[in-house]
Symmetry: D2
Subunit: 490 residues, 4 copies
């Protein structure tokens, strides 16, 4: 009920989920279970690579985990033998839906096969790629992840592990990685730990996953986080921990708690479930932005925990005033123009009986472009709501993410371009409020945000914790182009 | 969020949803929207037949509406021109998944094409079929619906409408039907009105649908029910009402309110939304079967409205203690035996942080075989619940349905074979209670059940409102077989 | 090398081939072999129905036998268990490519399943269909064959065999049939024996097939023809012969020898191979229409045996002056207009080295529309031929076939609309000659055609040996329409 | 009729055909036509890459050209815009049917896209690959062709053309190549010209193709061969010729004339058509190995021209005593064991009427394993032949080819392991004769073979014209393994 919202084009979208298992017969079946539990992190494609002691086996396909690795495709799992395997779910970025970008990526290196599954984004991938191609590397995909493979292949170290570490030292950005080699499984997390990665055990078997919910579904026990900057090498059921990078203060992504992670996952840094954090955000919001109303209504499913928190704190009854259909495919018929604008009801429909004649508080997790908010406020009014007060369980989203989240460019972010008053007007609500930045950190159990915040909140604050080489190159190129245009025009 | 539970093999399953549109260009696109809104009534197959004034066009396929009639298959809709169309969503019954059973069924009769979409079950279909085959009719499918077509084709009346009515007079059981002929659209409902059917208008266009939510999604206004025993003929935007059957007291299916209908549909006979009825059931249950506990947890999604009602009535906080994944395909990998039993978590996972150390009230809509209940109680205990009190939003399900609902045979219905105490023991709950029969009618706004109940509640009471010819024939055959066996043994 | 020309749109096309096997385990595998050998009689679709003593099994698909029943689809054969089976290959007629028209057709009659495979054409099918539909029969296909099934189902006789014979007595036209029922296999041939059907044995197993080549490939021995008007009932390995029709002088299709049958099939009525008949036609043609030339060139593959006969009789060397590609799919790319006219070379290409500077005799089996002949003559001239003399191994094709051959309407038959001189001019040959009608019968070993010819040669002579009810109805309707138009115009 | 034998597993198989077009709108459509004409050189997969001035477009698929680039897939061609394109047809080697091995291979180099289509075999590819992988290159396929791409990418030259030439200088073996780059088309042939490549013009457009028949079908005029060791660069319609290698005496493959090439292709070095060469071989064979017989029968299709030559020289009549089906798919049903051995008749069937009672000369192009010859001799005897004299249109095939032909290992070559007498016995013929080596060269118009033969005839003579590095490495490894075993055993 509360998994993140898969098909909403007005949401930020996590790009990937990863999962690995070592030391268990039929590891691929376990990976499939885990990926299913991480499906909310990417629905466009899924893949698994296993190693059976002799050969590597990979199956990757567009579509849901349950379609690709279902009973109908039972051979898909049988064709992935071995006691170690890693897997990946992903969104396809526009124009790049090609299967060759679906992970795990695989390459035959001089030390043998190397499979890699990546959650995050390498922010100097383009610059590295240009250099590699200039000196003779041939890329198979347009994925930033492939850069890591080529850097590994070209490293002068003489063992695969050191080549891989050598490669990681040259990349910047966000990465949680699970790899399978002839030696076993490698998992690691970038020095800031921007994207999550947790460690579990199922009996003796070693499991790594983007979220704890995947441990639950795979029948594994949560042990601890893979720590920011940590790299573990798993041989069978043995774990070896490395710290190849200079230590830095971690900055895990705060949006995982607001929206990306499943509510039944553990918010590790906050010491409780994501659901509890979201309820706390809702309660905090009720204190920061109270309103006199008859009922609290979530925009399902992502707004529901915050709405329960808001309702419990405010004493206003919680009601399901919007019913969501879960049968949405990615796209749907394009009926005649006349029929088209009804489209929004395909996913969300007002529960008129409950809404009619009421003053309502509407709780959503975030506002990105503002298009859905506008339609939902209107839907509530059409159903007879007398007042519609919108409350948002995150601060205004003003900046794009360069760490593996699919964000629209800044010009399309509502909060980057409008004042609160203008936004209220835009979505036609009676009132609109966002939780404060300090309020958000309070919900995580901290006193306030602090000078050196405990999380990456760049999408709200604009404070990016790493250099953004490719982005800087792009801006420089744009400025040069602008300069030339200006000069040409003179 | 609250649509019915599509893939649970421990639920009764509605077999079909139907939708028709007349008097609007591109009627098929509207039908596709409507069927999408009725997807919870059948996910295995979908079909649409349109008539363009000259030709009939049909597209039927296994899979979801949004897959069959999506943008990728935009031609599917373009290939269905015309201003009148009807459609159908269905479950496939075991062994009968063949496309030839997918509706609308279509036949070329002497008066021209005849398409029919059916929700319900003809309870003398087998006997009629035997007679028709003996005299030379050739069946294309194993569907009971085809019997109606052959009876129509073989009728001695000389107009299609009268032939069709002649056919209906020979069938018994439950049927809501939408047909398309060269003359227009016909919609009708059996004399007892067992299955639902509502009438709406979108501008001038005439819409019929299994539930009001389909009117909402198709942008149509709810006008009224098609009444039990009513048959309407729609030519363009004109509606003609017929009453071909002797009047009887209606008996609409009560389980529609408990489970089948979407919560945002209107419970027509009760004068409010299905959601409101379910909340009322929950509140009634709180009064009938109170318990001292810390939190109320729904089994999502179907238990959620009743849980909200229970929580509001009892004052115990409502919490999402179970998180449901909506990415389930129909089937999933069959991992090794060791991994298999984890399967239940693919769909439902405990929200441990909330559950641990709590006394919980667990609300579900019904218990059929009892297999899921057992697992979910266990899951709650594994997550640390100190007490688990199960409360069921319907009376015990003791009898199979012969009116279009896929029920297991009586021997597999938990409540048909065990006392309350035994059931409590079986699912390993600390306590178990079902709403009373009178309580259920109270939630519908009536004083009590009454001698001549206002609804069909045969699955609870065993009082079937029609003759069950095929079932009687089957029992006679079984008894004869038994007799012969006994005699042979002597 | 010499199988008939599958993809030439300028050829008459046999519509079907049939094959049945009884009294052998895995009968369906044998049927698949036989159908493969009959592939030249229909390449668009193939199907097999088997009966295993309890159930009927059918698999039908568009495409070649070797695709549908190949190793990749080994389950296709495994899914067709039983010791009796029948099969069919067919062309799809325009607009009717639908799978529901692919044979064997199957119906559940009151006596049990009934599968039927048909080669030929029922010439009063439309009139019978109208009557059947008017009285309540519902057709599943647009196939004339289905008429036979409905007549069988509606017959008042009380055994399936008599019902079937009763049905056959009502149909007119051409039919060779193989049926499978719960009782066994039935095979029969219309009273005139227009389409072929032969009987063979593979050990004890009984085989029936359209041509003897299918017996060869299935490892069976040729026994005899099923005789015109004969119906055999095969139970296991026992054969029972019936003669349900009044005796008539047979009229097997003469075009089988000219073009349809494989050259390695036995021309039963002529007492030798089809290849030998074609060679004799070529020799006769050399006597009737000699010409001074350097080489004899066949239009491959169908013209080859006659070309060898022509060369041997005339003493002019036989040479492969045209090379044919056998990789043609049904359709091919539509390149730009400039490129398109090269299309003919996709199938036939001149062997320039041989042709250049030569006077050539070009041998083809028939001229239908004349489009290919024109192109091939031009191709020969482009390759440097100094003279091109066309010789045709059949008399002018002036009339459509109503007995199961796909012929263009009369207005499109070149010989129906042009004199020999005009035809010569049209195809731009230096000379053109057809074998004489008597010459054709001579090649079959008869003295001349005779008053009551031994074969159906309606496509040449216009003498149809049966009533053509549907065709007469069509002409009457056209005349009435014309009359009305004329009257309206006055 | 006479195209090479596609599906015979008892034939040597050419591995590829290539085609390129430059300077014509819609170049890809022309390439599709050309590949269709080269289909006999490889039926398993086909691919085309085009360049439209901005982007490269590639479509590759398993299956026939006419399936992949047919009308049904018209978009396949439309999706390949541009005025320059190259294409490839290929056999898939066992275990390597993967799409990633289908050509053209494509890579993004630092100078932009680079597509390459290759006919031949690089005989030091493995050694080069090991070195490249060791220094960081990542291979996408198992194809030897990819080695050329990586060598190009890693070359220190600074222009793509020079990098490519630099790469070619490091490879040994046989290669005819067509490449497309941002600059235009490059075509070249190894220094010995082992595999063929011809140059044509269609108007101004420049065409290169494996055989002249592809020029015919694409409507182009034959200009000349690309000469051994020549590399041409084509920009639009301009041709620039380079000679990057030291000159050597050419050694084109002689088996092209015996079997691989289509009979309507020009045998460039012999100055006439392949058909004429094959007829001359047949005539020479009649002189070298005459026999008293009644008829000459080809094993169709590849034996047919030699049979015509044999018949004309000997005066014994040519007859089609074996009929071949062209509907064979790659594989076919595996019927029961009893049925299986009939399999050979699926492709070849005796024309009994012609064969019975005759002394026959059977002409085939070559004997590889001897399995088919054995079956066909038996088939002739079963059909009543009184004597069967086998005549083979090539010398005994005693050695594997390492230049792009799929040969069985030496141990499986009949002629490598048996004397003529043993072979005659093995195939159970009354007599057996092969053309002499000198006779073969005579048929090409030379006096005899000569010390430095004009063609590569290694499959007959064992004289390989190049170093075979990988083969030598393999043998060394085998010897070392043997040595170790021997030592271990002591």
């Amino acid at each position: 009920m509360l998994t993140t919202n898969p098909f909403d084009d007005d949401k930020l979208r996590e790009e990937c989920g990863i999962f690995g298992a070592s030391g268990v017969d039929g590891a691929a079946a376990l990976v499939a279970l885990g990926l299913h539990a991480l499906q909310h992190r990417g629905q466009e494609a899924a893949g698994i690579t296993s190693f059976d002691g002799d050969h590597f086996h990979t199956h990757r396909a567009m579509g849901l985990v349950g379609e690709t690795f279902s009973q109908q495709n039972e051979e898909a799992i049988r064709a992935l033998p071995g006691s170690v395997a890693c897997g990946h779910v992903r969104y396809a970025t526009t124009g790049e839906t090609a299967l060759r970008n679906v992970q795990p990526l695989f390459a035959e290196l001089s030390e043998g096969g190397f499979a890699i599954a990546h959650n995050g984004n390498i922010s100097n991938a383009l610059r590295l790629r240009q250099e590699l191609v200039r000196t003779g590397s041939i890329f198979q995909s347009t994925s930033d992840t492939e850069t890591i493979i080529h850097l590994t292949a070209r490293s002068n170290y003489d063992q695969l592990l050191y080549k891989f570490i050598d490669a990681l030292k040259r990349v910047e950005g966000a990465y949680s990685l699970v790899c399978v080699t002839r030696e076993g499984m490698i998992a690691c997390r970038d020095p800031l730990g921007i994207r999550p990665l947790v460690l579990g055990r199922r009996g003796d078997a070693v499991i790594v996953a983007s979220e704890t919910v995947a441990l639950d579904v795979a029948g594994a026990e949560f042990i601890r986080e893979i720590e920011p900057g940590e790299l573990i090498v798993v041989k069978g059921t043995e774990i070896e921990s490395h710290r190849p990078f200079p230590p830095r203060a971690p900055r895990p992504c705060i949006f995982e708690y607001v929206y990306f992670s499943r509510p039944d996952s553990r918010a590790v840094s906050a010491g409780r479930s994501v659901y509890a954090v979201r309820k706390a955000i809702g309660a905090q919001l009720a204190m920061e932005a109270p309103v006199e109303a008859d009922i609290v209504i979530p925009v399902p499913d992502s707004g529901t925990p915050a709405a329960i928190g808001y309702a419990q704190e405010s004493g206003i009854p919680f009601e399901l005033g919007i019913i969501r259909s879960h049968y949405m495919g990615r796209t749907f018929i394009q009926p005649t123009d006349e029929i088209r604008h009804e489209g929004v009801r395909l996913k969300h429909n007002a529960n008129r009986d409950i809404v009619a004649g009421k003053r309502i508080v509407l709780i959503d997790d975030s506002i990105v472009r503002g298009t859905t908010s506008h339609k939902i406020v209107q839907m509530m009014r059409d159903a007879g709501a007398t007042e519609v007060h919108m409350r948002i369980a995150s601060p205004p989203t003003k900046n794009p993410c360069f760490y593996g989240v699919d964000t629209p460019e800044k010009a399309k972010l509502l909060a980057a371009n409008k004042s609160l008053e203008q936004m209220t007007d835009h979505i036609k609500a009676d009132s609109l409020a966002f939780i404060s930045m300090d309020g958000l950190y309070k919900a995580l159990g901290e006193a306030a945000r602090g000078e050196e915040p405990s999380h990456c909140d760049a999408c709200f604050s604009g404070e990016y914790p790493t250099t953004l080489t490719d982005q800087r190159d792009r801006e420089t190129a744009d400025q040069l182009a602008l300069l030339e245009e200006t000069e040409a025009a003179e």
